[in-house]
Amino acid sequence: MRIVWFLLEKEFHQLRRNRTLLLLLLAPVVQLLVLSNAANYEIRNLNLVVVDQDHSPAARRLVDKFQYTPYFRLVAVRPSVRAAEQDLLRDRADVVLVVPRHFERALVRERRADVQLLVNALNSVKAGLAGSYAASIVQAYQGEARPATVAAVLAGRGGLEVVPAYWYNPRLNYKTFMVPGLIFQIMTLIVMFLATLNIVREKEIGTIEQLNVTPIRKWQFMLGKLLPFWLAGFYQLSVGLLVARLVFQVPLVGSLPLLYAATALYLTVPLGIGLLISASSRTQQQALFVAFFFLIIFVLLSGLFTPIEYMPAWAQALDRLNPLAYIIRIARMVLLKGSTARDIAGPLGALLLLALTVNALAVWRYRKTSG
């Protein structure tokens, strides 16, 4: 362990004198601020077409609810579903809200009432959002409708039939959803690139040959290279969480120690991949190219920009090997939902397997004596 200490000391001296330190310290803040705005999927002024077959005060109030939000703009009221479908086909409507006959009566008498939502699915992201927005508005209406107009009748459960979407992000704040994922995406990019380049740079300069001729053990060398960037990962997580809390008001409901523990395990995966890549590359270009290849796949399939459930089967299968997808899932579960260690045992186990495999490969691949 004493030798690892000397390696660490050296790395920190070098880092202190290197411009990459600035990148390491500032990038998480800057990128989080920029990316969270760029990756904002909030969509406003969706075109709403209403088919009101009930003509009741309850129906009108529901339509008003839609109009009071910045998300929907009422563009037409049609007499029939058929007419409204034409709007969808001609791309004049993003969402059609159909309030069926006897909506109010059902709400009062049977304690439940259905509305129908037709969503233009040309753009799947927009469609998903439009559907969710509409569902949450209907749900909010249900909450108000009960005490206001039908409180006396509705003693027990009932009301409108809606999908309970976005329980843990009730106001559909996209930053809340994106920021935990972005923190880990940025962390992975920076930490993996820097670790990979660091080792290959020693190869290019030739100092690695000098280390290979010392009695240093493989694991000592690797630990000496892993630890500085492992610590950098924690710094990035802490800064990221601070920004999330202070700038974006992301509610951090879960256990932070649990998230840090999961991160401790997670970081060994991208770092191990970095070691593996640098052990197999001769030049920085080579290493960068390979690292880039992996990172693009990790990021695109991370579930950050496209929900994993929307991906084709082969991509979902590939995601079983994607460490970023696991940790983003863990981060969202812990931070937004307050999941416990037991809840995240599945993805944690997967990360542990990946970590062991990747680092075993790296130790095996790194050679102090070449053939």
Partner: protein, 257 residues
């Protein structure tokens, strides 16, 4: 170094380096072709040859950095192919590329390599002071190594390679590009080390330096074309100086780069 004993730890009776039919091939190309030789303790052994002759390749095999394709070799009593890590404990090595960290200070470099070789902190501190005093670098202790002139860097790298009192030190063109005065000082350091019993294995392109060696081998196309004392070689080839010996041998080379 700090009055090190002449009987070095790990020192063995008989030759310190022994190679027999040592060979390295890269695909169909033979870089080192069955070389055989012995080097005694405390000897300064010169390794000459044109660019691409195979000097670095042979040296890297002896240091345990490269696995031989054929033949056997031992350094400080350990087999090059089977016990490279045991060898690494007992040798110092200055590679052809500069081997200290440019972005660490003089003192940080010494401390790092001392630590990696398992020296105690007090030992490192004492050796650092002694080393800085001997090299006249006391005032530069906190200067980045990258800012030093090449000659100083090379003297420092040599002293660092001796920090852990190795039995053998391998030097790959340590004086390349260094001015004549500093080269002279460098050789003074070499003689001091050899006098303490350290075996010195050195490659060079300077034929005046070949004259300073106890024995010289000349490699041509991966083979060892000659091996003797400088005086013996001159006599053997009927030459006035080492330059002439070298030219006679190297003229027939094919692998020159």
């Amino acid at each position: 170094m700090s009055g090190a004993a002449t009987q070095l730890p790990g020192a063995v009776a008989g030759p310190v380096i022994r190679a027999e039919g040592l060979t390295k091939t890269f695909g169909a190309f033979t870089a080192v072709d069955a070389i055989s030789f012995e080097v005694a303790a405390g000897e300064i052994f010169g390794f000459l040859g044109a660019n691409g002759a195979g000097k670095t390749t042979a040296m890297r095999m002896l240091c345990g950095l490269l696995t031989p394709s054929g033949g056997v070799a031992s350094v400080a009593g350990f087999d090059v192919g089977r016990e490279p890590e045991a060898i690494k404990r007992r040798i110092g090595y200055m590679s052809q590329k500069f081997s200290l960290y440019d972005d660490l200070t003089v003192r940080e470099n010494i401390r790092f390599y001392g630590g990696v070789y398992g020296l105690r902190t007090t030992e490192i501190r004492a050796k650092t002071e002694a080393l800085l005093g001997r090299l006249g670098l006391a005032h530069e202790r906190d200067a980045l190594v990258g800012s030093l002139p090449l000659g100083w860097k090379q003297k420092l790298a040599f002293s660092v390679a001796l920090l852990h009192d190795p039995a053998v030190v391998f030097l790959d063109e340590p004086t390349g590009g260094v001015d004549p005065i500093t080269r002279r000082q460098f050789w003074d350091l070499l003689y001091e080390a050899a006098a303490r019993g350290v075996t010195v294995f050195i490659t060079t392109h300077y034929l005046d330096e070949a004259e300073y060696c106890d024995r010289v081998s000349i490699m041509v196309d991966g083979r060892m074309a000659a091996l003797d004392t400088p005086a013996g070689l001159k006599q053997q080839f009927g030459a006035a100086d080492m330059n002439e010996v070298f030219l006679q041998l190297a003229r027939g080379a094919k692998n020159t780069e």
